[in-house]
Each structure stands twice: as structure tokens, then as C-alpha cells.
Subunit: 487 residues, 2 copies
């Protein structure tokens, strides 16, 4: 094959070289007019940037330094000097990823965008907005509301996620069934390449067929091809009416059948989520919607949005389909407050589960996606295997996209228990791939799922990805150890 | 910059080597069990595969041979041998592209997928379908109807377009404002790479964040990175109700303002097209909807779809907005037949214009896209400059995407006239780029717009594209001379 010859393994800077590089960065940034000390080597800071309690796995190593740039130009300086010295650079924004995506397996410099969290330009008439990487999606939407705009950014991953990481992982969330994923909302990106040169993927047309779709390539590349320092995002119009409802089912299979019916009838629900009985229990325990208590049964959550009339129409069509699939107890959130609470109980389900941990417990949370027709079977088998572990474990997911999450609580001090959980998770991933699915619908590969990516696409396709990586980052300094390994 | 060092210009096979290669291809394919003569060197065949009367420009050269493979394996054999001999290979399906996209500026082998036009597998429950590159989108939809399916493929470029070319150009059409563009409907691709190795971009999940988004990169790459031999496409549910209406306006600016109002209110129209008074005249002259005659004024065409109730609601919201923007004569197609005729009159507008040609006349047809807020201004200035040419010329477009087409009829035997038209088109493209737009919203770069791509993205971004090209096609045999040049 064309790409059989792998390039040699990268050699990274020694600690001495690393220190020279950091001094050089600080010096050049000061000469450039910024007197702040942008480099931190504080040990807590390093830990926070190299380890994540959310992540299914973490390497043993930490970054050697954290840089806090204030501009694209400063990121460019950092990249250029790190390129000269062969030092890994790892972008960091919200830190809420789940597969060790921002970990530092080869040390290097974590670039934290904390100070680059602004709206640069709001083009209201064009329905787009230019932002920096560390603005959170929730914050972005609050600011849009505060400006009196009727527009919003519809991609809704975990509450703490920020635009930089959302681009990196091609994230999505509950709104994806209606609005698609991150890649569908990026008009252009400003990117610092491995050697510090800066490019813009394109201008601001809503649609384009001009040359390679660099947006499509960089979104989801987890900072391994370049570092995003600015993004122009499309915005959507806030619907005038919302409604939230839950329906329970005797089994996950019935719930999945109902969900398939909704999709196959083309009903434009705003969101459609599945939660098993354990996850419903977590919502009740969390108490967000107290005093109301939800039935602890397999449940579909629906969000409807549109005009008053279209919401009413979609609700009645969905009610008919769920009833025909053994759904019962179709209950609406009774007012806007309860809608928000209920939806945020769903959004914060991982938090709620983490809040239930005791002692040395951790939560292993992962996601897969498969074609609709296989979803019920996959969930059933996986849930059975998970239940057999005898641990506290739940399933929930974006069922309209064939995407679901498994969360298992286990004792990290117990290697046998960890191994058991790991096997269970890997079996689910294998099964999803065998069903023509993917090892991750929205969390991305990171450090934790590299092996699964090779199962999924095979060595030839992985070799093409590696070839692209090597073309743009010949020294392998951009977030190395993520998505794929060289050797 | 990282990519300053351009690789040396490619050296292609001599005519002798070319003949050896063709014999070798034919021989290996026969040994592989196919006794057909898959290679043609018939001069009419070569002309049809190297020259297009639709295209704004054509190189002087033609392919040296046309190959008609029957399978991915045969395409792989052709690519492998052409790679060994350094012979350009150029994919061909519908042949309806407009920028010389399938021309053969360096000779080589045109690969015509005429015999690879089948549905491979219809996954009804999963709402997806696996097809070969030479199935047309209209044929695909007819076959789905014949199978009794309620699903359809919603991307609607020119009537003759086929899936292979549609992937190549990341095409779209009138449905894009509702359904997006080609890249949004591709689940996976089977691709023959430069050296004949075969990869599949991914499996069939509706959504994935696993590794680089190769679908996003290959869609729109015009066969310059690899050749698509199979595609799995998402399908949508056919709406239960349709309605088509036209509204006229005193000026293009008023029509554009009304269209902006529809977008900014988030009304889910199924399509929204603008046609100037000249294009309306072309529709009347074409006679498709005779005896009905449409007003020859700036006009918005709307398509509505959904449930009966939601169509009625959207129609009344759009009527309110168009009235508030000086729209008048809101007229509906009176039945399904007239809806279809009217919509096909719009779809076949370029055909209708070509049908009006006399003697040596040709039509220069091109497209650009800009952010909404600049569209009215761009159309006004461009239309004025076009009218000043004193030629038969029209404007029409997908206004909801900020995308429009300019078509100018001119005498190709008159170099001064051609030059004048070319200057006018280039001015429009320049203006679109200056307004933060793109040199092509849906026709792609091909042979004709390489200079414009460099204006649009700049030399650094183009260098990144060139680097990606070189990484996957080091001998530059994949549709060379398209999108970018090496030197």
C-alpha cells in the first residue's frame, strides 16, 4: 500500500531544551508587548491540565507547563518555538472531555485558552458569530439573549464544554437529532499550524464548494492537525414554543421501537432521549425536579419546538406512535420552569451520577452509535452484561441518532473490578462496531479509544488518517498520542 | 512556512508507456474474469469525456482513453497500473458539471462509471442506501418510489447529475436551504486511492466522532484525492404535503429583503429561489407551464412541505413577510402537475437558456455565495454590470443560502465578446470574495476557478490543501489540474 512506510517515531525535547523553550516563549511574548507571566508550572495547574476524573482513562504523565495565551499571535509564537524544540502542544478549553482527550502522554505544553473566551463579532443579519475557543456554549447563548438576539447556538454537549474542545471532538448532544453536530455549524476556523503559521479555513459564506473542506477535516481532529484560535459559527432562530414530555415503556426494546417509529415518520422532534430505569432513579435522587418524582422505568424524553401549532401537532403524532408501542404515562413538564429543570436533569445526568460516588468510586462513561435497526438489540445485550457486573450502572442516549452512553460506577482501587468494567465496555464497543456502528458517536477517540478506532476503520483507513496527520504535523507535536499512534 | 517547499512538478507517462499501460489494464481485467473490452479510444468518446458545452472553460486537450469499469476491484486495477506508469485518472459520471471538472488537461484515462449505476443495498429501517457512483439522483428517487418506500434522497442539483460527481463537487440545489448539501448526506464512501488500494471511510452510524472525518474531506475533493466507487447515503422521509408559490417584487433588492426576513424568522421553507425578470422570461419562452404565463419581474419561488397544517401555517407566515416587503401577486401552483412543471421549469433553467442559443452562442454559467446581508447589493451591482454588456443574461439562485448563479449568452467565435464576459464574471467573483463570500457555492473549482480559489483562501490555506493532496497522491495522477496546480 501507498502508505506502508511509517515515518520514524518522533523525538521530543529534553527537559533542558524544554526549559530553554519556555524562557524563549516568555521572552518573545514580552517583547511582543504582553507583560503577563503566561507560563505556569504550578503542580496543581499541571495536574488539572493532565488528569481528568471524567475520563475513562488517563496516562501517568502530566504536561511540563501550562501556557495562557491572550491572542492568536501568542499561540503562534508558542507553536513556532515548540516546533523548533520538538515539544508537544495540547489545546485545553472546558476540560470536560471523557476519553483523556487533553491528557499529556508525552509531556509538553498545555495551551489553556482561559483568557481567550470572548465574542469577537456578532453578525446578526448574517446569523453568524465569531468567537474565541474558551467561550462555553451556555455562556454564548446567555450573551446572545442579553444582547436581545432571537438567535442561539444549538449544539449542546455537557454543560461545561467550550467551543474549542467542541470543535476538537465534533461533539453534539440532545439537540443533534434536529440540528446535527458541531461540524454542521462551523463556517470557518482560524488555525495555528504545527510550525506557528496561521491560516483561516475559509470566509463566511453559508455554503461553499471551493476547494477542500478544511472545516470538515479540522472539526473532530482533536487538535492533532492544528489549534483553533477563532471560530465563526452559524446560529439558529430560537423557536417560539417549547414542550417537554416523558413516556415510560415496559422495556428498552419497546422504547427503541417507538423512537424508530418517530424517526421513520419524519416527525421533527427537537430532541428524543432514552434513559433506563437506573438513570431515572439518578434523576429522582438528584432532586432537581423535586417534589415531582418520575417513574423509574425505561423512559423516552421528548423535546418539541416550533410554532404553537406545530408543537401541538408533533406532540399528538408522537403520542400516537408511543401508545402504539406500549408507551404509557405520557406526562408533560407542567411549565417552563419544570421543562428547564427536567431537561437539565437529563443534561446533568453524568454529574448526578458522579455526585453519588463514595470513597474510591469512579464512573466509566463512554458512548457508541449504531444504525437505528440495531440499537434496541445492542442496548439490551449491553445492559444485561452491565447488570451482570453487579455494579451501579446506567444507560442513556440520543436515541434519534442511534447514539447511547453507558456509565458504570466502580472502585478504582480494585484492579479486578476495573478490569471487569473495562472488558464490559470493550465488549459493547466491539458489538457496536460489528453492528456497522462506531466506537464513539460524540466523545471522540482521545487517548482512551485508539484501539477501538483501528477495530472500526481498519489499518488501511487508519493509515490514510496517519498520512494526513504526518503531512500537517511532521514532527508529531500536535496533541500526540491522541486518535492514533505513530508506531 | 511549513509547506514552502513545493514538490517537483509531476512527470507523466509518454504515449508509448500509456499504450503499454492500457494493454496491461485490459489484460489484467480479462485475467480477472471480465471478457468485455473496457477501454475505448473512440474519438467521439474521448471528446465527450474531455469537453463540455456546459462548462465555462475547457482545456485544449482530451483524455487518451476512456475506461468503463464494472466494479471497485476493476477501478483498483486501473489505478494501480496508472500509478505505476504515472498516468492521470479522471472520474466521470453525469458529465453535467460547469467548471471543466472532468476535463483532461494532462491527458490520461477518463474512468466512466456508466456500468456502475446500481443500488447495492437499501437499509430501509436504518433510512440509508448504498449506491454506485453512476446512479442519478432522480433515478435513485424513482427507484425508491417504485420499491414503495416513503424515503427520498433530498439533494437536487442539475437533473443529469449522478452521485459520483455530486460527491466530487459537494453539490447542492434548491433543497439545500432545508436539507443542507451533499456532505451532510454521506455516511461512508468506498474509495480507490492513487495506488489502487481501497478504503472505506467508515461504517454506517448516523453520527460519529471517531478519527478524522474523511467523508468531510473527500466530499468536494473532485476526485483529486481518491475515486469514489460506492457511497452510503442517508435518506429523508417524503413530506406528506407540498405547495409551490411565486411572488413578484418591484426590485431584486426587495425580493432579497423578503428572503432575509424568511430566514431571520426561522421559517422552515422547503426551498426559496430567486429569479430575475430575464429568467422568468426564459421560463415563459420554454413553455413548460403553458398556457400559464408568469409575470416577468423579479420573483421568489417558494416550496413548502410538511404536514397539511404546517404547510398552511408556513405559507401564511411567508405571505405576511413578502407583503411587508413589497411582494405582490402571491400565486400558488394550482395542482400537483403545475407544481412539478413549475419546479422543473426552475430546475431546467440552464437547459431552457441553452435551448435559446443560436449559431455560435454559448452560455457562461457560474455561481458564488455570500453572507445574507450582502446578497442584495452583490446581485444589484453584478446585474447592472451584466446588463451593460448588452447580452442576454440572467440571474437566479438559492437565496436562502446566499448562493446565486449568473448565466450569460455570448458568441464564442468573438474573442472580444468572450473577454468582456470573462471580465464581468471575474468581477462578480472578486466582489463575492470581497464581501466575505466564496467563489463557488455548489459548482466547485474544477479547471475553471483555480485562480479564484487562491483569491478566496490565500496562498497559505491553499498550501495546506496542496500538502493534503500531495500526501495522498504523491504522483499527482488523481484528476490533476483541478482545484489547484502544483506550480
Amino acid at each position: 500500500m501507498l502508505f506502508d512506510n511509517k515515518p520514524p517515531n518522533p523525538v521530543y525535547a529534553t527537559l533542558d531544551e524544554m526549559n530553554s523553550a519556555l524562557a524563549e516563549i516568555q521572552d518573545e511574548i514580552q517583547r511582543n508587548g504582553n507583560d503577563e507571566d503566561i507560563i505556569s508550572t504550578d503542580s496543581e495547574d499541571l495536574h488539572r491540565h493532565g488528569y481528568s476524573e471524567w475520563s475513562s482513562s488517563n496516562p501517568e504523565t502530566l504536561p511540563v507547563a501550562v501556557a495562557y495565551p491572550r491572542s492568536t499571535e501568542e499561540v503562534s509564537i508558542i507553536a513556532r518555538i515548540c516546533h523548533n524544540y520538538r515539544i508537544p502542544i495540547i489545546p485545553y478549553s472546558g476540560g470536560s472531555s471523557l476519553e483523556g482527550n487533553f491528557s499529556a502522554p508525552f509531556g509538553g505544553v498545555s495551551i489553556d485558552f482561559a483568557y481567550m473566551d470572548k465574542i469577537i463579532k456578532f453578525n446578526q443579519e448574517d446569523m453568524d458569530i465569531v468567537v474565541q475557543p474558551s467561550i462555553g456554549w451556555q455562556d454564548l447563548n446567555s450573551q446572545l439573549l442579553d444582547m436581545g438576539s432571537r438567535l442561539f447556538f444549538p449544539i449542546d454537549p455537557g454543560p461545561n464544554a467550550k467551543i474549542g474542545g467542541m470543535v476538537g471532538t465534533n461533539c453534539s448532544g440532545t439537540n443533534a437529532v434536529r440540528y446535527g453536530t458541531m461540524k454542521d455549524w462551523v463556517l470557518n476556523l482560524t488555525i495555528v499550524l504545527a510550525d506557528g503559521s496561521v491560516i483561516k479555513t475559509r470566509r463566511r459564506p453559508r455554503k461553499s464548494s471551493a476547494g477542500y473542506n478544511l472545516n470538515g477535516l479540522f472539526v473532530g481532529s482533536e487538535g492533532t492537525l492544528g489549534i483553533v484560535t477563532e471560530a465563526t459559527l452559524k446560529l439558529a432562530v430560537i423557536p417560539e414554543e417549547f414542550s417537554v414530555a416523558v413516556v415510560t415503556f415496559p422495556s428498552i426494546r419497546d422504547a427503541a421501537a417507538a423512537a424508530a417509529g418517530v424517526m421513520q415518520n419524519g416527525i421533527p422532534v427537537a430532541a428524543m432521549e432514552i434513559m433506563d430505569e437506573v438513570q431515572m432513579k439518578v434523576v429522582n435522587l438528584g432532586g432537581a425536579t423535586a417534589p415531582r418524582v418520575w417513574k423509574e422505568e425505561p423512559t423516552l424524553f421528548f423535546k418539541f419546538s416550533g410554532t404553537k401549532q406545530s408543537v401541538a401537532e408533533n406532540v399528538s403524532r408522537v403520542q400516537a406512535i408511543t401508545s402504539a408501542n406500549k408507551g404509557s404515562n405520557f406526562e408533560f413538564a407542567k411549565d417552563e420552569r419544570e421543562q428547564k429543570l427536567l431537561w437539565s436533569a437529563r443534561k446533568e445526568s453524568l454529574w448526578s451520577m458522579l455526585a453519588l460516588r463514595k470513597g474510591n468510586e469512579e464512573v466509566w462513561s463512554t458512548d457508541v452509535a449504531v444504525p437505528f435497526s440495531r440499537l434496541a438489540e445492542l442496548i439490551e445485550i449491553s445492559k444485561k452484561e452491565m447488570d451482570d457486573l453487579g455494579l451501579f450502572a446506567s444507560i442513556l442516549g440520543h436515541i434519534g441518532d442511534g447514539n447511547f452512553h453507558e456509565s458504570i460506577m466502580y472502585n478504582r482501587q480494585d484492579p479486578a473490578e476495573r478490569e471487569k468494567v473495562e472488558r464490559c465496555v470493550k465488549n459493547m464497543v466491539r458489538r457496536a462496531i460489528d453492528m456497522d456502528g462506531t466506537c464513539t458517536g460524540e466523545h471522540a477517540i482521545g487517548w482512551g479509544k485508539k484501539e477501538a478506532l483501528e477495530w472500526e476503520v481498519g489499518p488501511e483507513t487508519l493509515a490514510v488518517m496517519r498520512q494526513l496527520k504526518h503531512a500537517l504535523d511532521p514532527r508529531w507535536i500536535m496533541n500526540p498520542g491522541k486518535i492514533m499512534d505513530l508506531a
